[in-house]
Symmetry: C2
Subunit: 277 residues, 2 copies
């Protein structure tokens, strides 16, 4: 019999994860105090609302946690406290140490990490899974033949999170680095000179700045927590972690871009400089 | 009459700067307590040795300081104390604030920043110059028609340093970021998984890791000081500076690669991890 899966909570990514979970029996969600946007997404993906967490965890065989990194702990707490005894999948962008800590609350726990955008077509997005026994493979099979590529990797709990952390360490870390540099050059009056030198010796970097501004701006507000998790990840293994504490600061300053329609290099620079001395 | 130029000191970059300085009259250097390698380079470039700093500054119309960032202050101190009253060019990778501080010791001061490798053919390397009046243009003219492209940029003392700092902030900052990530993935046992994911979604990044290891390893020992200058540069203008404090730490750990013939990704990872917990 197909497993019933509870998704906590259907944000843009979680809703598409739930929507592409073809192998599930019932796909559940918990509307309690979620936003109208979340409700709309859940309904669009055909999820079934359950009134209380108690009722939801009693019905679900599998819980998939997909939430901001800072909420991963409390979501797990609530589910464990409600007496859930199935398979708990933490698919959040959290440090491996935190994944292991959360994992100790459950008898059956799978570590997950998502790389790529909310999947609307095959090939863009992978859900990496790691853990013990057959559970990771059984969970991966739920997305078999769907838009989401679910893959089991070697290594115990923590491996999938480690992969997610090191992946985002570059994509989002280098984007923050670049944005900070452009703001610095502008603040010191050498923005045009730097652009000209990049055109000469770093072909493509100028265009990358434009793409970064457009892509990163609107999402910056929710990258701060992820950067903090990455900093913890590297600090935990004794490697220099300041890249990502700085990136968290950069994204923190860019958070107001959540509200704008168009995120430009000028808008990024203005926000980054507005908190500078 | 062509200006006599004193170069302090002819390292790999300084020697080629001196060697390509076609517009100079005499090109001087100070062998006092320099290494055999420096002597060999100075002789190869046809520089003229002067016994004492006092004699050198008395003869020179222009002094070009080209040394490790941490030595820029003391080189300037020595030259100023020796009574030099010509044009002092600081071409070092230092924070604009430090360039301005050094500049206050001289009546005629030009800020410089070099981007590119020691020039052996035209098109690879630029010496940016900024400062007041005609002096920057007169100095730039010394390299006219040579392998070195000397360019005057707008902005007072500090502009050339700001350009150098923001340029290296990306090239050397992103290389340190990447090396640290590769070491982290290896430490957490997901190195191969990350490589596979990069092949899927970050084409070219795997090759960049290989190139970075080969290019950066042997030079890492001297990047630490430059990263510290970049961190100061960004801290001075109130922007997140932790990217480069972390990069300084990374390059500090990689300093032993100075001694090896071939710098590989494995060698980088081993050194970075050796100081990790």
């Amino acid at each position: 019999m197909a497993a019933d899966v509870l998704f906590l909570h259907p944000g843009a990514m979680g809703a598409r994860l739930a929507g592409s979970c073809r192998g599930a029996g019932r796909r559940l969600w918990l509307p309690d105090s979620r936003s109208d946007a979340t409700t709309a997404r859940a309904e669009r993906e055909g999820l079934e609302a359950v009134e209380t967490l108690g009722a939801a965890v009693a019905r679900a065989d599998i819980v998939v946690s997909i939430c901001p990194p800072s909420a991963a702990d409390s979501v797990a707490d609530h589910v464990a406290s409600a007496g859930f005894d199935g398979v708990y999948v933490d698919a959040n962008a959290i440090a491996p140490t935190k994944a292991r800590r959360i994992g100790r609350r459950f008898d059956r726990f799978i570590d997950g990490g998502i790389i790529g955008p909310p999947p609307t077509e095959p090939g863009t997005t992978r859900l990496y899974l790691s853990g013990r026994g057959d559970d990771p493979h059984d969970v991966a099979a739920l997305w078999s033949g769907s838009e989401l590529d679910a893959r089991v990797i070697d290594g115990d709990i923590g491996a999938a999170s480690a992969l997610k952390m090191t992946y985002a360490a570059w994509t989002k870390g280098s984007a923050a680095l670049l944005a900070t540099i452009v703001a610095g050059a502008d603040a010191m009056g050498v923005g045009d000179d730097l652009e000209r030198e990049w055109d000469l010796s770093q072909p493509g970097l100028g265009e990358r700045v434009q793409r970064t501004a457009a892509a990163v701006g609107p999402k910056a507000w929710r990258f701060t927590g992820e950067m903090t998790e990455i900093a913890s990840t590297f600090a935990d293994i004794g490697l220099p972690a300041g890249f990502w504490t700085a990136a968290a600061e950069t994204y923190g300053r860019l958070a107001p871009l959540k509200e704008v329609d168009e995120s430009t290099v000028d808008a990024l620079v203005e926000l980054l400089r507005s908190e500078s001395s």
